[in-house]
């Protein structure tokens, strides 16, 4: 980023973009709670929320209002500072990941100025995401420790161990991808998957790195603390897990952070493996309709892919039983990490072979 480019217009542009992204992801997280309940319902032959508004669409608003109105309880024996810091950190980290995601192709104005649909195109985007995601687990850890509750503490332990184990496999699976793309910048990686079909090859990374995709998606389930890896909040053993002692909006923050994380993870999954904002026939649109439409459709396509992933996350949650703790660790350390290493080796060999 060139320093001189930071003008008032630039700042305004970014502020608007950030507000739209934050508002959008909050809105999507809100309706994810509705969708989760609807998905759970239809899979269990029920109807789900259908009282508040048409199809129960006002249910998230009612839930939010309820959370705001609830009495806020801070346990006497808790560490008050960390108790408040926990949910705040979880929420903050959930929102921060969205900064490096390219939401759509650049919009080129008539006067030649470029409007990038990305808050910050840093050249280590993937590293940034990993850093923020691993900070996210601090929210759970601090909150659970500060609660001064044995169930919360156990849950925090599990969350931390799980995050450490699976982040390793996640990173290793992405190394293969990064070796192919030769860049850590999110925009670069997405740009390389331009279109859908190119000279007899699929451009999307999923078709080049299916194994990495499987490892990555399994790890993201674990990172999100979602079923079947939701050991840190398993109701059947740990009451409410790390948010046992939390009430009112602090509880809301934890629950909300989970859904924002799910949305962002879906976006990352679609950006890294399913072409992000790229879609078949985008060159045709650019040629025959308008370059602006390429961007608009691109954003919608990215959101569509993300929604598909969110639905997939939900389908999995309501399909699979929870893993046992030792099974979880077995899967992480004994299966996914060797598999990721193997994938790395094969990718490296193929790249070497093609270079000659």
């Amino acid at each position: 980023m060139i320093l001189t480019a930071i003008t008032l217009g630039f700042i305004l542009e970014k502020v608007i973009l950030v507000s739209i992204i934050l508002g959008g992801s909050l809105g999507i997280a809100m309706y994810s709670t509705w969708a989760e309940r609807k998905v759970a319902a239809v899979m269990q032959d029920r109807r789900g929320p259908n009282r508040a508004g048409p199809f129960g669409l006002f249910q998230p608003l009612a839930d939010g209002l309820k959370l705001f109105m609830k009495e806020e309880i801070i346990p006497t024996l808790s560490n008050k500072f960390l108790f408040i810091l926990g949910p705040s950190l979880a929420m903050l980290m959930a929102c921060m990941t969205s900064a490096v995601i390219p939401w759509g192709p650049n919009i080129v104005h008539a006067d030649g100025s470029v409007f990038t649909l990305q808050v910050a195109d840093i050249n280590i985007g993937i590293l940034f995401i990993f850093g923020v995601v691993s900070l996210g687990v601090y929210g759970i850890m601090l909150g659970s420790w500060a609660s001064n509750n044995k169930y919360s503490l156990l849950s925090g332990l599990r969350a931390a161990a799980q995050a450490v184990s699976y982040e390793l496999a996640m990173g290793l699976s992405l190394i293969a991808l990064v070796m192919m793309s030769g860049s850590l910048s999110m925009r670069e990686i997405v740009e390389q998957q331009h279109g859908f079909w190119d000279n007899g090859y699929f451009t999307w990374n999923f078709f080049k790195q299916p194994l990495a995709f499987i490892i990555f998606i399994v790890c993201s389930f674990a990172e999100l603390n979602r079923a079947p890896f939701d050991l840190s909040e398993c109701e059947s053993e740990l009451v409410g897990g790390y948010h046992t002692e939390f009430s009112s909006m602090k509880l809301g923050f934890y629950l909300f952070a989970e859904y924002i994380n799910m949305f962002i993870t879906s976006i990352i999954l679609s950006s890294l493996f399913f072409g992000g904002y790229n879609y078949p026939g985008m060159d045709w649109v650019a040629l025959h309709v308008s370059p602006l439409f390429v961007s608009i459709i691109g954003v919608l396509v990215l959101l569509g892919k993300a929604v598909a992933f969110i639905l997939f996350f939900m389908f999995i949650r309501w399909t699979l039983p929870r893993f046992r703790y030792d099974q979880l660790m077995d899967l992480g350390w004994k299966s996914l990490i060797p598999l990721a290493l193997f994938n790395m080796l094969v990718t490296g060999a193929i790249i070497l072979a093609f270079q000659k």
Binding site: V42, M43, D45, R46, R47, F315, I316, T319, L320
Partner: protein, 169 residues
């Protein structure tokens, strides 16, 4: 002869170690997803209750009513047979004698001054209906609506009597 049929019906749990296909989980996950996805298109078990009600059988025994005859006179004579037959002891009543000038109100010389059914005790067996010699009490197709306190479930005579035939509703 075995005491139970467990020995014939019980299925031995397969304790063999998982083979490779089972250990990679993915085929099993796909199988599970197929089941849950199939359920999306199945008919819902839930009924949209206030808008749609479950159809009752024609012999459904719901809330009680106290009957009147064609001229609108109460049929009940407070004989107490319903209270006697009630296995849940949900019915209490107090009888009174009909005075001159009340012939248009009560069909016979004796009538129920008080008549109460405790809907929380009632088991809706319908024995009161069968015991009644005057066809005065019947069980209808509706069931007791919810209430905030117990008192609301003790139905007085006014709650149970059907409207007078001359009244508009």
């Amino acid at each position: 002869m075995p005491y139970t049929n467990i020995s014939t019906k019980a299925k031995q749990v397969d304790r063999r170690p998982m083979n490779f296909m089972e250990r990679i989980y993915l085929p099993a996950i796909a199988k599970g997803l197929k089941i849950t996805l199939g359920h999306i298109f199945q008919p819902k078990a839930t009924i949209n209750y206030p808008e749609v009600t479950r159809p009752f059988s024609s012999t459904f025994r719901g809330l009680h009513i106290l009957n009147r005859d064609e001229e609108g006179r109460e049929k009940c004579t407070a004989c107490g047979l319903c209270a006697l037959s009630c296995p849940a002891e949900a019915i209490t009543m107090e009888s009174a004698e009909r005075k001159t000038g009340e012939e248009h109100l009560y069909k016979e010389e004796k009538y129920a001054a008080q008549y109460e059914i405790n809907m929380l005790r009632c088991i809706f067996c319908g024995l009161c209906e069968e015991a009644c010699p005057k066809d005065a009490i019947y069980l209808t197709q509706t069931f007791a609506p919810s209430n905030y306190d117990r008192k609301g479930f003790i139905y007085k005579k006014d709650d149970l009597l059907i409207p007078h035939p001359s009244s508009k509703n």
